[in-house]
Subunit: 157 residues, 2 copies
DNA sequence: GAAGATTGAATATTCAATCTTA
DNA sequence: TAAGATTGAATATTCAATCTTC
């Protein structure tokens, strides 16, 4: 019988450290982004993420399910998030005639305007946190590696 | 006057891509961890994070403020999270005689036991998402780079 | 019956205000 | 007066149940 307490589950070291760094960096940068937006009198980061996702989507529209997946939140959560943006006049719902179950979120001009207003604040924060801190090659390498991690996590349910 | 709409804020490319990858990888892996814990009938990831943070702290205890900072959540949020763990008998509060304003969260034996129960599930998920997907050198490089990002984000308030 | 989305209940998180001690 | 922590109100998020359409 081993005396060392619970079963050992080491999580080989360089990987645990990498994961912790992802968690900490994500939380730190996200927190700074939130704070910068709040101080600038702008809406929360979740709104920005939704607006920018729609802005880069074909036709500036996306089905609710796809949007939820892109933002990595639950379907129910997205419905209510979109509710708030609709009430704010930034986004509209659209029902497609082809499949009348599906509904779309569509970016409105006012949403584009707000996005343009928020962008400098977000960009400045990301610039401060990333540019100059990572080299181009490091940034590229991190993106490539973490994209693989995401795919690996998603595939294996 | 520039006619190109809002001020351009490009966020130079390799960095934006890296940040998106951090967000996506974090969300994907966190989601898988949550799901794996739920399916195993275990408490949520936030509990694991708190327990493991206490377990690796000197004396298995930490002041509330330090713990909140380590977990990157608000002070009020931590108070209520600890409330739940105390009610579950996993953690205890302790008041230090030196500075009677401060309170400590202390890991109890039951908390260590639960931690040992949760660890294999978490380890298996991290293993599946990271090990074999990243090389040792990549993991090391990601950790090093993102640690710098975190410090850069935190410092500049 | 299954897929897509919405709703309501339960839960978790933050923000501002408060309380206690230094 | 400030630091540390807690509380209550407001907000946001998830989960399960429901509704509509395929």
């Amino acid at each position: 019988m081993k005396a060392s307490g619970a079963a050992e589950t080491p999580i080989k070291e360089p990987f645990l450290g990498a994961w912790k760094a992802v968690v900490q960096a994500h939380a730190a940068v996200t927190g700074q982004l939130q704070e910068a937006l709040t101080e600038a009198g702008l809406p929360p980061l979740a709104w920005y993420e939704l607006l920018v996702t729609l802005a880069t989507a074909p036709e500036r529209r996306l089905r609710m399910g796809e949007l939820a997946e892109a933002l990595v939140i639950s379907r129910g959560g997205l419905t209510k998030l979109v509710d708030r943006l609709v009430k704010a006049g930034l986004v509209d719902r659209d029902f497609c005639a082809e499949d009348r179950r599906a509904s779309y979120a569509v970016l409105l001009p006012a949403g584009e305007e707000l996005l343009a207003e928020m962008r400098p604040t977000v960009a400045a924060e990301l610039d401060r946190s990333l540019v100059g801190v990572l080299s181009d090659r490091e940034a590229e390498s991190i993106r490539e590696g973490l994209d693989r991690v995401r795919n690996s996590a998603c595939s294996g349910g």
